[in-house]
């Protein structure tokens, strides 16, 4: 009976606080994406829409580690039995990828473009099965370039 109560408390705490932190994170992501929308970030190997000589190029990266809440972890565990899409982890990965790209962009606010964007995801799981930490790390990296002509700053 005690373990049932502890489980239910953890489950509700996980749900409530997980939801709160997710909503807060999404608000932050939306605002920052809007602010940085004018910095083109592509997986293209060549600059897009411009043939001006490149003045400066550097490797930029951003990474983030995010953990799921208890509720989502249990939900994924249940889904594991029946199969199907693990919807409870979708927002986790979505937030982590977008946050990593945002952090990368924030490292080079004066760049004109970021080329050759790559995203790597790895799971951080330490401990025995069933007692694992359900966290993921997402690393985004690319090449930030600035053109020679200063008027080209931030492509129109």
């Amino acid at each position: 009976m005690e373990s049932l109560i502890i489980f239910l408390v953890l489950l509700s705490l996980g749900y409530v606080f997980g939801k709160m932190s997710e909503n807060r994170h999404y608000r932050s992501i939306h605002a920052r994406e809007q602010a940085l929308v004018t910095l083109p970030t592509t997986s293209s190997k060549k600059p897009i829409g411009n043939s001006a000589p490149i003045h400066h190029a550097e490797l930029v990266h951003g990474h983030v580690v995010i953990s799921v809440d208890y509720f989502k972890q249990m939900l994924a565990g249940l889904r594991n039995i029946f199969g199907g899409t693990i919807q409870s982890y979708e927002t986790l990965l979505d937030r982590a990828r977008r946050e990593a790209i945002l952090r990368m962009k924030e490292r080079c606010p004066t760049a004109d473009q970021i080329l050759n964007l790559r995203i790597e995801t790895s799971s951080i799981s330490k401990g025995d099965v069933g007692d694992r930490i359900g966290s993921i790390e997402v690393l985004a990296y690319g090449t930030a370039i600035s053109f020679e002509s200063s008027s080209q700053n931030h492509l129109e």
Binding site: S3, L10, G49, F71, Q87, D94, E156
Partner: protein, 271 residues
């Protein structure tokens, strides 16, 4: 090519279904799977237990020779007297293996049949009964559990439940405990019918031993007079022994049906 800065209006990478709904649907699925599995495998256990030969059962008891640490044991001579009483009941019950009694010092008014052919008697029981007949009935009740192989049924179900919980949810997840507490109510109900069955066996043994069934309801009446005022309201569900009055009525009806006489009881010589 012109770059047009814009952000997507909708996030297509995440599902917008409510997670709580998903959780309840999946949980209901797991629980029904486990309940059905438990029920079916429970029946399999019952069948398997019925098919077990006395030799196999004796072998099983030998294998299960576990040291059940129940608490401090009382003086060996008192235990020996109880053992003698149990042994004197053997011809009436025809058990294919020996039963070892251990008397444990405790206020609890109870006795238990544990796998491995061991019977644990708590010393509180000796204070609650006033006649040898009353004590013999309780001992015969526990022997009845052995005779009806209830300990094997319960153990079998315990194993089934553990395996099911481990298969579906992994050994040490929180779900296993929840399942255990959910199914406990069912187990209790299951063993209620087994308790009544053991009462029946004990009544027949009492008749066989003394030639009458006086003292059969003695312990229940004694418990009834003690237990007043401590009913927590939960006993109806969680108490695995059928309610006392019900048991007394059943025993009286049964002895009437079988034509058993009720005569004076022998005073208990404190073992």
């Amino acid at each position: 090519m012109k770059y047009q800065p814009s952000l997507p209006e909708h996030n297509d990478n995440v599902s917008h279904q409510h997670p709580v709904r998903e959780f309840f649907i999946l949980m209901a699925g797991v629980l029904s799977f486990v309940l059905i599995g438990y029920w079916v495998l429970g029946l399999v256990v019952d069948v398997a237990v019925d098919y077990l030969s006395p030799e196999q059962e004796a072998q099983l008891h030998h294998t299960l020779d576990i040291d059940w640490d129940m608490g401090e044991e009382v003086k060996p001579d008192e235990q020996a007297k109880l053992q003698k009483l149990v042994d004197s009941l053997k011809p009436c019950l025809a058990l294919p293996y020996p039963i070892t009694v251990s008397l444990v010092k405790s206020d609890i008014v109870n006795a238990m049949a544990v796998p491995g052919g061991k019977m644990v008697v708590f010393s509180g029981l000796l204070d609650a009964v006033s006649s040898t007949n009353g004590l013999i009935f309780v001992l015969a009740h526990e022997l009845g559990h052995f005779k009806n192989r209830d300990h094997l049924r319960l153990m079998g179900r315990g194993i089934v439940l553990t395996i099911l919980a481990m298969l579906t949810l992994g050994g040490d997840s929180g779900f296993s405990d929840i399942l255990a507490s959910t199914i406990n109510i069912r187990t209790a109900k299951y063993s209620q019918t087994r308790e009544s069955q053991a009462d029946r066996t004990a009544l027949q043994a009492l008749q066989c031993h003394f030639g009458h069934v006086g003292g059969a309801t003695e312990l229940f009446e004694s418990l009834q007079s003690r237990g007043k005022g401590i009913d927590l309201g939960l006993t109806h569900y969680f108490d695995s022994h059928p309610e006392l009055q019900q048991r007394i009525d059943d025993l009286n009806r049964l002895s009437h049906e079988l034509g058993y006489a009720v005569q004076d009881t022998q005073e208990l010589i404190e073992p």
